[in-house]
Symmetry: C2
Subunit: 381 residues, 2 copies
Amino acid sequence: MSQKRYLLTPGPTPVPPEVLAAMAEPVIHHRSPDFKDVFNGAVERLQQVFRTRNDVLVFTSSGTGAFESSVVNLLSPGEPVVVVSHGEFGTRWQKLAAAFGCEVVALDYAWGAQPRAEDVARVLSESGARVALLVHSETSTGVVSDIRSLVEACNDAGVISVVDAISSLGAVPLETDDWGVDVVVTGSQKALMTPPGLAFASISERAWARSQEATLPRFYWDWANARKNQAKGSTPFTPATSLVVALNAALELILAEGLESAHARHVALGRACRAGAKAMGLELYSPDNDGAAVLTGILTPEGIDAVALRLALRDRYGITIAGGHGDIAGRLFRIGHIGYVDIFDITTALGAVELQLVEMGTTVQRGAGGAAALAAYAAAV
Amino acid sequence: MSQKRYLLTPGPTPVPPEVLAAMAEPVIHHRSPDFKDVFNGAVERLQQVFRTRNDVLVFTSSGTGAFESSVVNLLSPGEPVVVVSHGEFGTRWQKLAAAFGCEVVALDYAWGAQPRAEDVARVLSESGARVALLVHSETSTGVVSDIRSLVEACNDAGVISVVDAISSLGAVPLETDDWGVDVVVTGSQKALMTPPGLAFASISERAWARSQEATLPRFYWDWANARKNQAKGSTPFTPATSLVVALNAALELILAEGLESAHARHVALGRACRAGAKAMGLELYSPDNDGAAVLTGILTPEGIDAVALRLALRDRYGITIAGGHGDIAGRLFRIGHIGYVDIFDITTALGAVELQLVEMGTTVQRGAGGAAALAAYAAAV
């Protein structure tokens, strides 16, 4: 039998068959009425998932591209910008802002830490920055920050907040309008259950006003041009039409489930994965609380190489999970549970980890992980 | 019966069913060995289609994005750059370079004109520019420029040539290495028979050297970072994995046909389309020669609105063709014949034009267009 495959990384994530089927439809022209209907429908559904009435712009790019659009539309050369980092992606946004000649005011935490609103308030006040870049779900660690309080600190200081919600939007609550988030950036390939290649940014009125003063050069990422074209039901440059069709199908599924149900499902999957890992005697790397609903970071037992474990899971069982970065790469593996994931994906991943850890000489109580995961899930739903 | 659809625009173009099926395969992770094999295979096949040993970088974006990458990797603020325009896309590249603060030295021709090497040589010499932006196939007019001679003028002056080959590569000959083209940019959605969302740039050693001196800011478009990651079989940021899988399938089809055969097919389709249009008594807008193998621009008879014609073709016959821009929008329609197109697509398009022109009160000899197209095709192959 050809090996079945399971994708359990925190992005790209598995895509529902209906969405894959939509991807395979014949290509339509991006200035045709067929496309216009799909595109407008997708943008309207994105607004529902973003919980906003703001414009949501669609870019053909990865999430990093849409995040770059925020930097080049909101900032000017030499301008200070506060960039909060508590993991790989915060550090990426610091490099991005520095690449564009901004004066990066870094608020750095250890990997795995939770950024604090009072620190953000202090750094904003000291720096005089008018824009802050924040990470909602830090995919490298599994930490989901209390973005509401961080954004509140920005709003108290009259500072525009740009939130990397790439692995969080659709998985955990993010109330763009109610919380007053100026710019929310996400990508198609995480909780939105679509293949990678599209990225989105919602933009508040205040951010639009700011973008008119910001002088960093932009063309492909120009928000004003994108808005003008989206008003006509298309994009300035040929978009990934097949991905837009797929996205629209995925958003219909998400809204049919309901955002609150999706959030509850992610909480339940997180609980199940953590309970299973602990029952197997494994140590958690990501936080052990309901906030960590995007992915579960787990440390291997002493002496077990996480890279070897992942390779074996892939080669022997067809299961792709994520590794770790930096110092912890030899011990950390991450199971993503965002998007089109259910409890049996979790028990499958834990089952494969059990099989392989025993193979590698670890003592694991047979079935304990799966049993605990099922029980935690049952209690959660 | 639900209406059959025909996409006959010069991009996006129709995609073969095998490629659509590849698009619908389950998503794979962009750092997995499964992806690495597909990605490396696609890049190697791209090099064959580009006719180059240079690096070919893959961006998740539309063609404009990859073209922007050339500007930001090769130029510095305030630096002169020669930008040749003989249609909409040349003008777009002038705006792009201006948006990044370059001093645009415009070499402008009337829409539909052929740029001349001696003009390029003169402007290069007068301006002192070290980079020139050129258009191979000007999609707005159907003119395919004699890019070999234009590039030769650049090389004689020691100037780096950047060629927009977005609608030409794979349809008409472009010998990147033999002709010494420094940078060739194309997109997935034209002759490469893949849905839109990927774009590519091949980069010569001279262009690599230049990019190390160029100071325009870049992050998403950074060539050096892309090259570093491609050496490991992936991309710096999550690519449109499904599109890469589709591209690889499409490139296999293209190389199985053979590049020379594909070029000959495009010449034959261009001859057929022009012969058919003329037999119907219609005036050509695009050049009436074998160079114009990408698309055929046709003027409606006096008093027939091209927009109304196109809308009727779409609504009554399911056929999408392209319109015109600017002054000529009321008279011009364009039939694309790049990529996955055969002679029967041409006779279908001409047949629908015939039906609709008669409906709109024009006298057209029944069947003359199709007959002439078939005869021209038969004579060409």
